[in-house]
């Protein structure tokens, strides 16, 4: 598209329009029919119902649905056979379906909270536009605009389409939503740049006109506008599965695999043991229900959202819950510089006077400046800094700290004003006492700023001329230089010293200003002298050079620490900035992205005094890559840079190049976090594993494309987020290990019931009460567990090898702790039966008679006879006892899961109070179920003798002792066989 290069008449011809008359209504209607409405097409949204149904069949839901359907089938068969209690299975089916539906609704609700990216793009569409059609000015809805329309814009309007400007008057637009540049940019009719994005004569759809007026021809509408193309690009970037989603999927497959294989195996076994098919199906349901941790996925969601809340408190607002963990597995952070690593405000960093460089305090909350202020040169310099400055504090901020006050004026003048205010106090008062009589503001041709003042010394009637500007320009105008308060001639030696200082400050990436002054002789310039700034009837050369001040947007004080944390956490921090390479490198060095000892290829070349080409690129750990170089690089070259250099700065990059960098990092197998604020950052934000938008500076589109919003724009907050993310990964491991353990204790009863034909030890409903009742709060409580060791001292987890649920975790939970729990629960079960008259030997092989409705004189070990119902009630007592035993042992399981390596005593038994809430809730719910609801027949609970609560206690203690021994051996013998097999 070359519309910005064409002349007005060419444009008129191209679009068949007229600048004065506009399009005819008929022609406009034709074009509208051809191009469609001037609005962004929303992406094809998945219908809500489809999303909902997806939740209903995701995860373990399929297994539970199978269980429910089998329940209904078997209850149907039982009804047909006229069995005694056909509704038990019907209820079970309903309960299973309810479990699926409720967890599905829960998950759907969580997903619905993540907002749609297109929503904010469409909100940006302007409502009305002033259009010339049929030679008349008309107010039209903006979506009716067509290519060739002549539109008029004034300050405050949103630009209704991409417009080629043909007439402007002081027009400035705010392109921040598109490019991230926060300064309003002036627009004119002139073609200023080859790139349509850079040229001044095009105003873009959805940006805002800040001031002035303009008229232009619509050249693009709807999806063909620049922002429309970015929007489609952003939604075109696929949403990759988050690492935690992959982990959970892996875990679901694992558990489902175990459930199905055990289920099918025992189905075959029970059929071959000549059980009826119907019974075998019921066993299958039981095995599935026992194996599936029904509450776990909901627990994981809750844990993640708890962490999300905690992160929000630390200024990381997470939009997509799963991003919480993604941040933890991040291995590369591509960070913006301005505002994220830096404070986003110019601050005086260095001074040069009396042939010496002084450093100034650049921290956020400075109240004094520590450098030596006794020299009379400083007094002179400070006067220039104070007087030759047009910036002013907005009134009414006297109580605010100086650094926080709002200033009217440009960035450097603001810096100087605040600097002076900190050192000298009330600048406004000083200015009032040194009345300004003339002034020449800064402009780009002069490159200096000048003002003339009366002095505050009543005995000194001279005028003081003060000037600041580009150092070399200022020096040109000077013939003397002030050293220790005395004017000395500016010889070549002193000029050399100036050059050295100037180079040094400039080399630190700082913006340097020179300052000079001149006391005008009283006789030539009496107090009535008419100063005229146009004719410049006063000297502007042979001045006295006083000093240099250099400014930089300094790093946030928390950032160097955060960067070094990243370093020890094995996270590579890459700076991506639009700034000049020298500035970028200086900031990178000062925050530690480039460490003090490492060198770039250029540094090595300079040190060895050889051409850059001769340097071995591998020797350089750091690299500063210019956007122009990046443009010409092949993907392989980029990969090589990302691979070979551990410290990388990308300078002068366009936001589009961010996407290239992100993709490059992802090709290295890294989990990439990217920060961004502009609209055109949104593809990179979407592409990244975790997009981080700036909360203060960020545009809506960036916030929408991102997974996370950084409320304070501070890089250090990302690092705290990483810490939280890593913690939740560890804690989810604990939660899952905790939850999986009791599944074995729920499964074993079924297996032994089938094989040994004992009365059923635990009911399916009872299992659901454990999975969705007693166990829920404790497993969430593990999310509050503190880290065992410094999680920021280890490398990011490897996506491929560090699984959430690894073999060791499953084996340890299933085959060791789970089996111990089963043993404990079976002891309770046999105790209950034995004390009621059925010794263990009597129970083996009784299943058929035990369950027969016709046998009502079933003889126990003591010769007593039991009716069916009496046996059934005893069976429920057995269920309750088994349930209570599992609960008691889950308390021990909960305590051992607090740590994976450390002893419980190292971790502190009481540090995590929520664990105790969990334990009490667990026992409380069990008490309510057994004693409160023990008389509700459908729930199969009975009030239990109190002593049965303690049968499993020795086993609970054993579990705890065993796990302490396990941890002790792991700590003692790292890397040993034990460590490899027992550490999960």
């Amino acid at each position: 598209q070359d519309d910005h290069k064409l002349s007005t008449s060419d444009l008129e011809e191209k679009y068949g329009t007229s600048i004065t008359k506009g399009l005819s209504s008929a022609r406009a209607a034709e074009i509208l029919a051809r191009d469609g409405l001037n609005s962004l097409t929303p992406p094809k949204a998945t219908p809500e119902i489809v999303k909902f149904l997806k939740q209903m069949v995701g995860g373990f839901s399929i297994l539970l649905w199978i269980g429910a359907v089998f329940s209904w089938i078997s209850s149907g068969i039982q009804i047909a056979q006229g069995a005694e209690s056909p509704f038990d299975n019907l209820y079970l089916g309903v309960v299973l379906a309810l479990v699926v539906i409720l967890t599905g609704i829960f998950a759907y609700y969580q997903e619905a909270k993540s907002t749609n990216i297109m929503a904010s793009f469409s909100k940006m569409i302007p409502q009305q536009a002033l259009v010339i059609r049929d030679a008349e000015k008309k107010e039209l809805p903006a979506d009716q605009l067509v290519v060739g329309d002549i539109v008029e814009i004034k300050g405050g309007d949103r630009i209704p389409a991409d417009i080629r400007l043909i007439f402007t008057q002081g027009c400035k637009v705010d392109n921040s939503s598109l490019t991230g540049e926060s300064e309003p940019q002036s627009r004119s009719c002139d073609f200023t740049h080859e790139n349509p994005l850079e040229t001044r004569n095009i105003a873009f759809y959805s940006t805002t006109c800040v001031e002035g007026t303009a008229t232009g021809i619509v050249i693009n509408t709807g999806d063909r506008t620049i922002i429309g193309r970015i929007a489609s690009l952003a939604s075109g970037v696929g949403n990759e599965k988050t690492p935690i989603a992959i982990e959970i999927e892996h875990f679901v497959y694992l558990v489902a695999g175990v459930a199905i294989s055990i289920g099918v195996l025992f189905f075959i076994i029970s059929v071959s043991l000549r059980y009826m098919i119907l019974d075998s199906i019921i066993f299958l349901i039981g095995i599935i229900v026992a194996n599936v941790p029904e509450g776990l996925l909901a627990t994981v969601t809750v844990s993640l959202s708890l962490t999300a809340k905690r992160m929000a408190k630390k200024n990381c607002l997470v939009k997509n819950l799963e991003a919480v963990e993604t941040l933890g597995s991040t291995s590369i952070i591509c960070s913006d510089k301005t505002g994220t690593l830096t404070q986003n405000r110019m601050t005086v960093a260095h001074l040069w006077f009396d042939n010496q460089i002084y450093s100034a305090d650049t921290s956020e909350d400075q109240t004094t400046q520590p450098f030596d202020q006794s020299s009379p040169s400083w007094t002179a310099l400070s006067k220039i800094v104070t007087l030759c400055n047009r910036a002013e504090f907005r009134p009414g901020q006297e109580n605010l700290p100086i650094m926080k006050r709002v200033v009217v004026g440009d960035a450097s003048e603001t810096a100087l004003l605040k600097f002076a205010e900190v050192i000298l106090g009330d600048v406004m008062n000083i200015r009032a006492r040194n009345k300004k009589v003339a002034e020449i503001p800064f402009n780009s041709t002069n490159k200096f700023q000048l003002s003339i003042h009366e002095t505050d010394d009543p005995n000194d009637k001279r005028f003081l001329l003060v000037m600041k500007g580009a150092p070399e320009r200022i020096l040109e105008r000077c013939s003397t230089i002030m050293i220790n308060g005395k004017e000395e001639p500016l010889d070549s030696e002193k000029a050399e010293a100036f050059q050295t200082a100037y180079m040094e400050l400039g080399g630190m990436g700082e913006r340097v200003l020179g300052f000079c002054h001149l006391y005008l002789p009283e006789d030539e310039f009496p107090d009535t002298y008419p100063f005229d700034t146009d004719s410049m009837n006063f000297p502007t050369s042979n001045l006295c050079f006083v000093g240099l001040l250099s400014m930089i947007d300094p790093p946030r004080s928390t950032v160097p620490d955060a960067v070094s944390k990243c370093r020890s956490a094995g996270i590579k921090v890459i700076m991506v900035t639009g700034d000049h390479p020298i500035t970028a490198k200086a900031i990178a060095k000062s925050v530690g992205i480039i460490s003090a000892t490492s060198e770039t290829v250029e540094d090595i070349a300079k040190r060895l005094n050889v051409p850059v080409e001769q340097v071995n690129r591998r020797e350089a750990t750091a690299a500063v890559v210019n956007g122009m170089e990046l443009k010409d690089m092949s993907l392989e070259q980029l990969d090589e840079i990302l691979c070979n250099h551990s410290e990388i700065v990308f300078a002068r990059t366009s936001p589009q190049q961010k996407l290239v960098i992100v993709e490059g990092c992802q090709r290295q197998g890294a989990v990439v976090a990217v920060t961004g604020d502009g609209v055109n950052d949104s593809p990179a934000l979407k592409k990244a594993d975790i997009g981080i938008a700036m909360g203060i500076a960020g545009s809506d589109a960036a916030k929408n494309a991102a997974d996370m919003v950084l409320l304070d724009d501070n890089f250090a907050s990302i690092v705290t987020g990483v810490e939280e993310g890593r913690l939740i990964f560890d804690n989810l491991k604990k939660t899952i290990a905790y939850t999986l353990t009791k599944n074995i204790a729920e499964l074993c009863p079924f297996l032994i019931y089938i094989i040994a034909s004992i009365p059923m030890p635990i009911g399916t409903i009872t299992i659901l009460f454990i999975d969705l009742g007693t166990d829920i709060i404790p497993s969430v409580a593990l999310a509050y567990e503190k880290a065992e060791s410094d999680i920021m001292n280890r490398r990011p987890r490897n996506k491929k090898t560090d699984r959430l649920v690894n073999e060791q975790l499953a084996v340890y939970s299933y085959l060791q702790i789970g089996i111990m729990q089963s043993v404990g629960a079976f002891v309770t079960y046999f105790t209950v039966y034995a004390e009621q008259g059925f010794l263990p030997s009597t129970l083996l092989g009784v299943r058929v008679n035990w369950e027969s409705n016709a046998i009502n004189d079933f003889e126990d070990s003591y010769g007593q006879e039991w009716t069916k119902y009496q046996r059934r009630y005893l069976q429920w007592t057995g269920y309750t006892a088994f349930f209570v035993s599992i609960t008691i042992q889950q308390v021990a399981d909960l305590i051992i899961r607090k740590t994976r390596r450390n002893s419980i005593f190292q971790q502190g038994l009481f540090r995590n109070k929520v664990i105790w809430v969990g334990i009490f809730s667990q026992i409380g719910i069990a008490l309510i179920l057994t004693y409160g609801l023990g008389h509700v027949t459908a729930l199969n609970f009975t009030p239990l003798r109190f002593q049965y609560w303690f049968v499993a206690v020795p086993f609970a203690i054993l579990i705890w002792v065993y796990d302490e021994v396990r941890k002790l051996l792991i700590r003692r013998y790292p890397g040993s066989w034990w460590d490899k097999n027992m550490y999960y």
Binding site: Q816, L839, D857, E865, Q870
Partner: protein
Amino acid sequence: GLILLFYLVFYGFLAALFTFTMWVMLQTLSSDIPKYRDRISSPGLMISPKPDTALEFYFNKSDAQSYAEYVSTLRKFLESYDDSKQSQNINCTPGRIFDQNDVTVKKACRFNLSELGQCSGKEDKTFGYSKGTPCVLVKMNRIIGLKPEGEPRIQCTSKEEGMVEINYFPPEGLIDLMYFPYYGKSLHVHYLQPLVAVQLAVNSNSTKDEIAIECKILGSPNLKNEDDRDKFLGRIAFKVQMTE
């Protein structure tokens, strides 16, 4: 290899632990009476013969084959009541609880088969099935230590009035208190629980009809017979259909 060894040791230990705790638990139990008897506070009723198909009697009185199983079941059931088997049993005082708490060797009371009259199987080897007057024995479940109060007796009713005439042996379906209490399998070796025979004389015009009969234990305040959930607690319902 090592991992297998580990699990061998681990599970071996768990098995040993399980066995040990079970052993300890069993040591706390008495071999004579169970620790708790609260789950069976009141006895259930049961009948003999017990048809395979849910307590429904179907037979043809002229076809011996159709009731052969009932007859053989009854015969077998009554074997232990045979006089020869009751030689060690003593004659107790009727109408009184036979308390033997102080005695180490508990004696069993004799239950004379003659008490069952026409249903004793002595005169009529087919227990009345061939004559259209089938006998059903009703027994009360054994419960250790149960002492019925009052004068417990079995009474059966038919929902359909006039279809069937019911006779009881011993008369009025009385269960004598002298058979109580029961001291358990190991202490009370030759114990025989008292029986009540119910003879159903089906009206000749009611053959081919299904007759529902419910027997209940009455006359004893501490024996429940109306539990909502337990249909066999102190009562039993069965059906009889006789053809000619």
